[in-house]
């Protein structure tokens, strides 16, 4: 009885509490005020969608409002540069793009080594607006606003996805959660023009169509899944997650004995079309049939064929013979499959697991074998505050939702459970994979919450209770019944009000997190003046602009790889290494140039035609992400290539500490990086001991570094960016050290006028 009543009330659209509309609960009447119920529901849903999309877009605009319409961080600068290339050249030029302005002197086959989905998307939008709608919008603005726009779409796809799992009530809740959950906002604020910006949308779309295809056994939806899978492959390397999750889902379903023709149709359609389509992306190419990351999908494809044959045989022959048939064929195929896989891998036909993927399982792998992966901050493991920070109350609704999925355990619930378990692990190992966990947290949180609302928003009990009770026990006093109703109402109210309160708190939390943690472009830094007003620190753009205006167009700039994309994007100068860390040796070369003594470095600099060297120095302002703090990674990476010449141990003080003050080791003090960072730093303090505000150490005036092979070209206002010009070989053939000594004595005779940077804005 109870469950039937529930079903009735579920079918009415009860809007989530975020929206002000109160859903009318009329279980019987198909019409309200002469308007059909379906029409009202549709209208309400549209309004809710619009407001959800509005909420999710506007909460991502903090950075544009606070700062300006600017591309953020590092990778987005490359994407932006590539997009500009795409809209100024043809599509085929773009795919064949060989970029000689990065990785000098090697160059990079950019067209073949990027995921073009993001650039093509914004390119298409740009062309559509310009040519069809006659709205010539700057490509930068499209790039900046692409991520918020797609977040609105993500919310809608999350709605459809969750609707397939439970119903539209849960869908609406999931949509609003997805719209404002900080875990997703962190990668999709305006200006964060990165692959993830559209990839999460595509992820949700692919999953939605997959659930649909699997439920209906429809070739049409299977094709749509493949189509969105193709789009996803073109947009983000994380597509491997889908490539493994869907086969795993099928595999678990087969183990549970739930094989059906529907599964067969959906999976084979998706796999055949999706794999063929994904091979059209130049960067992916033949990987889907040659790398171990994709072998699970192929294996399950084969397994499914066998199961289908088995299913057919079972229907034709008696069950006893079938049993032996089953056992023999299972053992045979599994052994053959494993032998084949191992054999092909050892023969080199199939690439073994890629390092990045492998490091997910063996968590110490990267630390020992691939320092360049371990050095990236977003590849660190996740401490618990990150989970709460990114999802707030959803983090404890999440297990409840998963439990409720176990209660129903339809095929689609199995999907949710697998997704939840796998992604919790991934997110625990790597901070950046928090992003893929967020959608499922939102969906299961919404399922749990909407089940709660189903129970406690359901007042049909109160209305229907009257006739029943009258027929069963007429003698009960009406007062008793009223008291009953009162208690029922009160308990419903308590639950609803507390959860309404939590939802409000959730919104406040999300807004606070977004505005405080995720809205800084990191290209422009903000600090507070003593009076509380905002003070913008714009050193990066200042320096990059200086480079752009004051150096020859073909000048080569050497910097640590973190800044490669920014230099390419903002200064438009050739770089040696950048954030596309494809060549470890080249990065190690730059690392060696930075950590060696001047003589050794000079040879490297000259061999690589370097004109300018750029270092980031935060010691004056207390900017902790500077090069001295990253220095040990440079040492480690170059030690990996030249273990004889570079020793990490030499950079520690005698007591084994990482020091830059008077206790710093000689190797440290001799390194080019140290010298460039602290060059003339003491002059700021009028020749007295200078204090480094990041590391809280003092640089004694007596060890002020002296530079012979490079000369200071530019230092930004707050000293964050320092640029050095590499000197030419001396005209009269002296070595550079003696040349500097000579000119120094000359200068001191002429009484040098020290040019001091303006320092009154500090503190």
């Amino acid at each position: 009885m109870v469950s039937e009543k529930k079903k009735q009330s579920v079918s009415t659209s009860s809007a989530p509490l975020k929206q002000k509309e109160v859903a009318e609960v009329v279980p019987t009447g198909p019409k309200i005020l002469g308007v059909k119920l379906d029409t009202i529901r549709l209208l309400l849903q549209v309004i809710i969608f619009i407001s959800i999309a509005g909420a999710s877009i506007s909460s991502r605009l903090f950075s544009v409002i606070r700062f300006e319409s600017i591309i953020h961080e590092f990778d987005p600068w490359f994407n932006f540069r590539a997009t500009k290339y795409l809209v100024t050249h043809s599509y085929y030029d773009f795919l064949n793009w060989f970029d000689d302005r990065t990785w000098y002197p090697l160059g990079r086959v950019t067209g073949g080594t990027l995921y073009p989905g993001l650039m093509v998307t914004s390119g298409v939008i740009w062309h559509t607006l310009r040519e069809w709608l006659a709205l010539p919008i700057d490509i930068r603005n499209i790039c900046v606003l692409l991520a918020p726009a797609f977040s609105g779409l993500t919310a809608i796809f999350t709605y459809f996805f969750t609707k397939e799992i439970k119903d539209s009530n849960a869908g609406l809740l999931a949509a609003i959660f997805m719209g404002i959950a900080p875990g997703y906002i962190s990668r999709s604020v305006a200006g964060s023009y990165d692959n993830e910006a559209i990839a999460i949308t595509l992820l949700m779309a692919t999953f939605y169509f997959w659930i649909k295809a699997m439920k209906l056994g429809s070739v049409f939806y299977g094709t749509l899944t493949a189509l969105f899978y193709f789009y996803m492959v073109s947009a983000w390397g994380g597509y491997v997650f889908i490539t493994n999750l869907i086969p795993l889902h099928i595999f678990v379903l087969i183990l549970m004995g739930r094989y059906s023709h529907k599964l067969y149709t959906a999976y084979t359609t998706w796999y055949a079309l999706g794999t063929l389509a994904s091979m059209q992306i130049p960067f992916v190419g033949f990987l889907p049939i040659r790398s171990n990351d994709h072998m699970a999908a192929l294996g399950v494809f084969g397994l499914l064929q066998l199961v289908a044959v088995g299913d057919y045989v079972k229907s034709q022959i008696p069950s006893k013979q079938f049993k032996s048939f089953l056992v023999i064929s299972l053992v045979l195929t599994i052994t053959l499959g494993i032998i084949g896989l191992v054999g092909l891998t050892t023969l080199g036909w199939i690439a073994p697991w890629t390092g990045r993927f492998y490091s997910l399982w063996d968590t110490n792998y990267a630390k020992i074998h691939i320092p360049i992966i371990a050095s990236v901050s977003e590849h660190q493991p996740t401490a618990w505050p990150a989970f709460f920070f990114d999802t707030n109350m959803l983090i404890w609704l999440f297990p409840a939702g998963v439990y409720l999925c176990f209660q129903d355990l339809q095929n689609e619930h199995v999907f949710v459970i697998i997704y939840a378990v796998l992604c919790s692990y991934f997110a625990g190992v790597m901070v950046r994979l928090m992003l893929t966990l967020t959608p499922i947290i939102c969906a299961s949180g919404a399922i749990a919450l909407s089940k709660l609302f189903d129970v406690y928003l359901d007042i049909s009990e109160l209305i229907n209770a009257n006739p029943e009770e009258e027929t069963t026990d007429k003698k009960k006093s009406t007062g008793n019944r009223k008291a009953n109703i009162f208690f029922i109402l009160l308990s419903k109210l308590i639950v609803l009000l507390t959860f309404a309160f939590y939802l409000f708190y959730f919104v406040f939390h999300c807004t606070w997190v977004t505005s405080n943690a995720y809205s800084s472009p990191s290209v422009v830094l903000a600090s507070k003046n003593p009076d509380g007003s905002q003070h913008i620190i714009d050193d990066f753009r200042e320096a990059y602009y200086w480079l752009r205006m004051n150096t020859p167009e073909d000048a080569k700039v050497m910097a640590w790889w973190d800044y490669g994309y920014q230099i390419g994007g903002m200064a438009d100068r050739t770089t040696l290494v950048d954030n596309n860390t494809w060549n470890n040796t080249h990065i190690a070369t730059v690392g060696k140039a930075m950590c060696s003594s001047e003589e050794v470095s000079y040879e490297i600099l000259k061999k690589h035609d370097v004109d300018y060297v750029l270092v980031i120095f935060g010691g004056l302002l207390g900017y902790s992400g500077d090069d001295i703090n990253k220095f040990l990674w440079m040492v480690r990476i170059s030690e990996g290539i030249w273990p004889d010449e570079v020793h990490e141990r030499d950079f520690f003080s005698e007591r084994g500490e990482y020091k830059v003050d008077s206790e710093a080791s000689q190797t440290m003090k001799d390194s080019l990086m140290y010298k460039m960072s602290y060059y003339r730093f003491n002059e700021l303090y009028n020749g007295r001991d200078a204090s480094d505000r990041v590391r809280g150490q003092t640089i004694p005036a007596s060890q002020a570094p002296e530079l012979n092979v490079v000369e200071e070209a530019f230092t930004s206002q707050n000293w964050i960016v320092r640029l050095y010009k590499v000197k030419d070989l001396d005209n009269v053939g002296r070595n550079l050290h003696s040349a500097t000594q000579f000119s120094k004595t000359e200068q001191s005779k002429r009484k040098r006028i020290a040019k001091k940077p303006v320092i009154d804005l500090r503190e």
């Binding site: 618990w384 505050p385 989970f387 404890w396 409840a400 176990f406 209660q407 459970i417 709660l452 308590i494």
Partner: protein, 347 residues
């Protein structure tokens, strides 16, 4: 054991302090399977004082649970492996032949190069060598010291001669071998001894598992198809992972930190870091909140009596509020100026 006793007695009776000879050390090293000489308060003077004609490496550490040193337990087996591998190649140390052969090979260069010398691995445990640790004035463990061959007869000369090994991230045995190679000029091939006991237990375990599953296959099937077990496992897994279990595993963070004066710090006030105990606290809080939520959704509607229903709802709503407030409170303790709290519990 007898040899050890003998040494101790000998050291007590020794009037002229002099280091042990190669032969004595080899016999001493045979006491342990890994060929590591145990050094403690009783014998450290005998072993280290005086001139010596060999290299010595001393690991000073503690595997006692009261000290709870992660690096120590991580490092010790690798150290033992290096030692046992060395003695597998040279069961009696470097013999006369070894020394002659290497001298011949190097020919004329041998004059400039130091002739190869024996190396011995020593190990001391903090609990039985407090005095010895005190001599080195150690503040933290583990430490590895290297003592080169010397002719110095002064008292406590070994303190000045010692070189300290720096611990870095990476494979400990490789780093240690690199370091020793530089200092001694020896090659250290690694022999990982095949662990027969493990192999046997694995085979026995697998067989036992197979036969048991054959016998109890019905029960096993029931367990494997049991929804409760699967949901329980998945939920525990999710709860642990969303409260930073992997972080503890990867970073090897301490369980709690003891502050001075008997105080114990349970919550580390950093956003990007945590103690081991936090995972337990948090997974408990999350688990309770989820459980209450499920009770509200599933169990409460089944209650017939509306007054009982009301009371349960009040109780569980309050519990949810209370635990949620605790959660927000703990998060506030993690720093970063979090402005929200649901209850004023702590200052």
């Amino acid at each position: 054991m007898r040899a050890n006793l003998f040494i101790v007695i000998a050291s007590l009776l020794n009037i002229v302090i002099a280091a042990l000879s190669n032969k004595e050390l080899v016999t001493l090293s045979k006491n342990s399977k890994q060929r590591i000489i145990h050094i403690n308060d009783a014998n450290y003077k005998t072993l280290l004082e005086g001139p010596r004609d060999y290299h010595m490496v001393v690991l000073m550490t503690s595997t006692s649970s009261s000290i709870n040193c992660v690096l120590c337990t991580e490092f010790k087996p690798e150290y033992e492996l290096v030692s046992s591998s060395w003695f597998q190649d040279h069961p009696e140390g470097l013999t006369e032949e070894d020394l002659e052969v290497s001298a011949d090979e190097e020919g004329g260069e041998s004059l400039s190069k130091v002739a190869p010398k024996n190396i011995y691995f020593l190990y001391s445990e903090f609990t039985d060598s407090r005095e010895f640790f005190g001599v080195f004035q150690l503040n933290n463990i583990p430490k590895v010291f290297y003592f080169p061959p010397s002719t110095n007869t002064e008292k406590n000369a070994y303190l000045k001669e010692s070189l300290e090994y720096q611990f870095f991230a990476g494979s400990h045995k490789d780093l240690l071998i690199d370091w020793l190679k530089q200092l001694t000029g020896h090659e250290f091939p690694i022999y990982i001894p095949p662990d027969y006991t493990k192999l046997v237990t694995n085979i026995v375990g697998a067989l036992a598992f197979l036969s048991l599953s054959k016998i109890f296959h019905k029960q096993l099937l029931k367990v494997l198809t049991s929804k409760i077990i699967w949901s329980g496992l998945s939920l525990i897994f999710i709860l642990l992972l969303t409260s930073g279990y992997m972080f503890n595993q990867i970073r090897g963070v301490p369980y709690v930190r003891e502050l001075g004066g008997g105080k114990i710090e349970y919550i580390l006030a950093q956003q990007q870091n945590q103690y081991g105990v936090e995972t337990q606290i948090l997974s408990f809080v999350y688990g309770c909140l989820s459980l209450f939520m499920v009770i509200l959704v599933k169990k409460v509607p089944e209650l017939k009596n509306s007054q009982v229903q009301f009371i349960t709802v009040v109780i569980f709503s309050f519990l949810i509020f209370f635990f949620y407030a605790i959660l927000v409170g703990i998060f506030g303790l993690k720093g970063a100026g979090y402005p929200f709290k649901l209850l004023r519990m702590m200052k």
